[in-house]
């Protein structure tokens, strides 16, 4: 079982990102689950989304999770919420920030000694898609860190999932995924 927790703000696309990732993984024959904690969250409120991936049918519906990966797609959430909650010894963090990994860990002591990767998904999204929607770049970074799939296969799959959007937006998303894949450190 592979488990992922997303830290996001409502409106930044964590749910869409989690569902998109689940969709891609499902095509490779694995079983998936993608869900989120909503409450009555309004746009901008901190929220979390989740992925589970397994070779067997996933029957566990508990919301509690000790994630293998933590994705943080809003740079401020590292400081305003505990992104390390319920972590495991080998939990891997991919965090959106304009800082270097060293600077980030120095500014948030909770991350000390943890496996942390950084990438500026906000900037990448602004420069490619034209809006601060950091979900697809995060998935590009995840492909690099996890080596789950070949990036070309992943981009092809995402093209299908984004299928209903205008071609310009799809192309921009492909660029964003590739840039995050290349830039994550």
């Amino acid at each position: 079982m592979l488990e992922i927790r997303w830290h996001s703000r409502a409106g930044q696309g964590a749910v869409t990102g989690a569902k998109g990732l689940a969709d891609v993984i499902s095509t490779t024959g694995k079983h998936v689950q993608a869900f989120a904690f909503y409450g009555s969250a309004k746009r901008g409120a901190a929220m979390t989304a989740y992925n589970r991936v397994d070779d067997k049918v996933i029957m566990n519906h508990e919301k509690y999770m000790e994630p293998d990966f933590v994705f943080v797609i809003d740079p401020a959430l590292v400081f305003t919420s505990d992104v390390t909650i319920n972590h495991k010894e080998n939990t891997i963090y991919i965090i959106t920030t304009h800082m270097s990994t060293e600077e980030l860990v120095a500014s948030q002591p909770r991350l000390a000694g943890k496996k942390v990767y950084t990438v500026d998904c906000i900037k990448i999204a602004q420069e490619t898609i034209g809006r601060a929607i950091p979900n697809t770049p995060m998935l590009g970074a995840f492909m690099r860190v996890s080596e789950m799939y070949d990036i070309e296969f992943f981009k092809e799959s995402m093209k299908r999932i984004l299928g209903k959007l205008p071609q310009k937006i799809i192309d921009a998303n492909m660029l964003a995924i590739q840039r995050a894949f290349d830039e994550v450190k």
Partner: protein
């Protein structure tokens, strides 16, 4: 047919709402009268979009409340069409008066209920309070544990509800957010397979058949009211279960997916078991398997059909077990839980010596964790070892503060 078909992948990653909306499209529902409410909104929204995009030939009726939504469904069903809608929680509560009208008028309507807590305090998350509220309303109630079930059970619902020997409305329940907003792989039917299964709508006593005028929505006082209610109860008690079983059998032939009136998992040699509904059934199954590795012979029983209540089927499923936990996801507010009472009733005159205890859990979406279930199974094993219930008969799981227990 004047609508487009949709190409689906063999496995689609859908949440429960999407799965239900797709089932409504594939069943070619004629009329949806709806008033949206969280977390069921995407079901009727989905139907409306399919309609606007030309995938359905039907009518979407926007109304001013859930009371009006069900009233619209009643009118359309009496007129002679395939009818469905969706609701949750407060909306369901507002529908209650019309729920009794629909079933009493013997109108086949499919209502997707995305289970959610009832205020006060206001809460949008999943529990079974609304589902429990409708259990005496004369509807058939089917329960989904995951998005796949939510998809499949909608087809079953139309098939059973519209049967001329049944003619009773049917609810398909799924857990708010935990199913409705959780995307999982759903094995799909093609449009032709799905429509072939539910079939063309066959009208009966339809008001638009002017050659054969009928009266709907009549008044009967003490002269006839009781006979109508007795007949409705009789049909629920005697006619519905065989029709559900036939529909399950036919559906298995079509899809390979097998549903049972009562779902039993690892029960053949179980010492301890939990009986529950919704997503909890699946989580409990996973924990039961883990308990067996620790030497506790655990099993799980899930209700697939809540109304009519599977009185004999559940007694059969629980025949050999030594300790049973009834898990109610609704506050009984001054009584034992519904499942506890139903199980006690079903088992009382049987030869079982099983120890029965009740648990209230998960109100307002409170997480039922695997850890909770591990302690629960462990507690049941202690009851078996002691030969008696060692705890109070009613306990609360996962509530903050001092441990709460009663009875």
């Amino acid at each position: 047919m004047a609508f487009d078909k949709m190409e689906l992948q063999k496995i689609e990653v859908w949440d429960g709402n999407r799965a239900a909306a797709q089932a409504l499209r594939q069943s070619q529902v004629d009329v949806v009268a709806a008033y949206p409410i969280t977390p069921s909104t995407p079901i009727v929204e989905g139907y409306a979009k399919f309609l606007a995009d030309g995938y359905i030939e039907g009518e979407f009726v926007m109304v001013e409340s859930e009371h009006a939504a069900m009233s619209g469904c009643i009118g359309a069903a009496a007129a002679g069409g395939r009818v469905a809608t969706a609701t949750s929680s407060q909306g369901y509560a507002l529908m209650v008066e019309t729920l009794y009208q629909a079933s009493g008028m013997r109108l086949p309507i499919v209502l997707n209920v995305v289970n959610r807590a009832l205020a006060a305090p206001l809460n949008v998350n999943g529990d079974h309070s609304d589902m429990y509220l409708g259990r005496d309303s004369g509807w058939i109630q089917l329960d989904a544990y995951c998005p796949q079930d939510a998809y499949d059970l909608n087809f079953i619902a139309f098939k059973v509800s519209e049967d001329h020997d049944v003619r009773l409305p049917c609810m398909v329940h799924q857990d708010g957010f935990i199913t409705s907003h959780t995307a999982q792989g759903v094995h799909t039917l093609t449009d032709d397979e799905a429509y072939g299964f539910v079939g063309e709508y066959q009208p009966m006593n339809d008001m638009l058949d002017f050659e054969h005028p009928v009266t709907h929505g009549v008044q009967t006082e003490e002269d006839w009211h009781f006979e109508h209610k007795a007949r409705q109860h009789n049909d629920l008690m005697t006619k519905v279960m065989p029709k559900i079983q036939t529909a399950f059998d036919d559906f298995e032939k079509l899809s390979g997916r097998k549903y049972n009136i009562v779902e039993s998992y690892d029960m053949s040699d179980a010492d301890v078991c939990v009986v529950c509904m919704g997503t909890s059934v699946e989580t409990a199954r996973e924990v039961a398997t883990e308990m067996r590795a620790k030497g506790i012979k655990a099993g799980v029983v899930g209700l697939r059909v809540i109304r009519p209540f599977p009185f004999f089927e559940i007694a059969e499923a629980l025949k050999g077990v030594k300790a049973i936990a009834a898990l109610d996801r609704s506050s009984p507010n001054g009584a034992a839980g519904m499942l506890f009472n139903e199980l006690a009733g079903a088992l009382f005159n049987t030869g079982t010596k099983a120890l029965l205890s009740g648990y209230v859990y998960g109100l307002g979406g409170r997480d039922l964790t695997k850890a909770h279930l591990v302690s629960l199974f462990t507690e049941l094993q202690k009851n078996v070892d002691a030969g008696k219930v060692t705890t109070p008969l009613q306990q609360f799981i996962g509530v903050r503060g001092p441990k709460l227990s009663f009875l």
